[in-house]
Amino acid sequence: MKRFIGFIKKEFFHIFRDRRSLFILFGMPIAQIMLFGFAITNEINNVDIAVLDHSKDATTKEIINKISASKYFSINQFIDRESDIEIIFKKGKVKAVLNFEEGFSKKLIKDNKATIQIITDATDPNTANTISNYVNAILQQYQKGLNEDITIAYQIVPQTRMVYNPELKSVYMFVPGVMTIILMLVSAMMTSISITREKELGTMEILLVSPIKPIQVIVGKVFPYIFLSIINAIVIVVLSIFIFKMPVQGNLFLLGFESVLFIITALALGILISTISATQQTAMMISLMGLMLPVILLSGFIFPISSMPIPLQVISNIIPAKWFIIIIKGIMLKGVGLQYLWKETLILVGMTIFFMGLSVKKYKIRLE
């Protein structure tokens, strides 16, 4: 036991003396969460649009007012000719143009039908889609107001309710993702680097020719990073609660327990990487390419898994991050407990045992 404590003490010396890594370790989560929370967002706010109004009557004015009054759009300019549409799109000043046909009001009353053309700049397809949906919603609302007194014989009224994230805030989606990435990165990359550093500097040679057991070396290496990762997880959760008003519906202790479980899974992966790479450089490359990319692309963090091709959906099952994201979304947003998440939890436990077993088996007690 004394050996083990001595080893851990040494590890903390390494970590705290390497100022740059320490800065990355704690600076990165904060920077990432801020970046994802503020800068990268799917929501639209104050999107500049232009209006081409051929009729300029009371109805179109009313609609235009309604649109510009919403917080989603601000009317940047009015144009007079169809040919201007392309010009302003090319200038990139507006994301959408509303084109009211001639005699809008008249047609609406006479024919019960008038047309607005919504033209969006689809170089950014997500935004274009969102804009057209929002405009449609505003128009429908307006239409409803017109028809208030009239009863239509048959009517289907869809009532949409967005549960767990009624305001569709994208930060709710990013926080679990960022937390997963950071815990993965800190745990897996840092441990794999710190173990391969011993190999590279030759200190592993001395450690091998000493009574310290392989399991003591591995656990001793991993322990400080469990500790640091837990601190990181706490920082992320606190930031998301206080800055982004992210709700934690479920049990905080369960969240803590699942986070520690995921940290250990990632650490086991880190150890596995260190057993197959000889230098810090290789360990870093494998961690980045082999872990970061799948975590970002295949975990369902950014791209929904259900819309991926079948082979990728199958592959996504072996990514621990996928299961962890399901778990934290469940706890934070839905407020569910272990009775709904036991399957995902068991999968993570299984993966951890598998990686641990493999790395202990692959850990070399000699130099070759």
């Binding site: 004394k2 050996r3 404590i5 001595g6 080893f7 003490k9 040494k10 010396f13 390494h14 003396r17 390497d18 500097l201 030759g202 200190t203 040679e205 001395i206 450690l207 091998l208 020719v209 000493s210 009574p211 310290i212 007690i365 000699r366 130099l367 070759e368």
Partner: protein, 300 residues
Amino acid sequence: MSITVSNISKSYKSVKALENISFNVKEGELFGLIGPDGAGKTTLFRILTTLLIANEGSATVADFDVVIDYKKIRNNVGYMPGKFSLYQDLTIEENLNFFATIFGTTIEENYDLIKEIYVQIEPFKNRRAGKLSGGMKQKLALCCALIHKPKVLFLDEPTTGVDPVSRKEFWDMLKRLQQKGITILVSTPYMDEAALCDRIALIQDGKILQIDTPQAIVKHYPKPIFNVRANNTYQLINSLKAYEHNHSVYPFGEFVHYTDKRADFEREDLIQYLESENLSDIEIEKTLPTIEDTFMELAK
């Protein structure tokens, strides 16, 4: 026997690093492995310290088999690799403390063993190991290898890259450690250090050329050897090499070591020849062979 090596062979892919090596080291002996870089010294050390497994042959250290009882060996030996392998970001004291702890001991417990070495680096005990000079690094590494009072000490080229004064101090320390009953296996590319060992093995290209005491190795040198000097050493070497009766010609400090093929060497004949080669101030005198001469002769 403290170390026994019998018929050890080891190859890396196509390279044969060790070929059929056998020798024994007695308890409390200071045994030297002398040979140039790439001779296979480090491979042999790694086999004996249980870091590598030989392809053929067997070996024991402190009566434990290097393959079967590797854990026991790891408890009982001190190993100082050729490359400086301590934690550069830890101070002298922290390094020493760390190695004491993982060997289950404390600095105080075995302080008498390292005292003489440690007092020399103690004034810098709060300095990080990465910022030490070559000699101090080696002293610290030796302290770390000794802190658990090993039965056998393996030192792989401990004085490479160390200044001559520190080298001498280092060997004095080895002598003192030997008196405390520790068996020491040391390797070095420096022939002058070989004379300080009890017995040495000359090793080249993975083969042992000869094993004996330094004195016996020198004594068995087969030919009389001569120091030759002239006004132009470079030309002297070329001329001697061109001389029909030459057996060997090696530069040695300010002289050239020369041996002759003939049983009775004729000094006048050689002087005449050298003068005909436009050399002057010629001196020729008989000298005693050194280990380096023996090595060169055996390696031929």
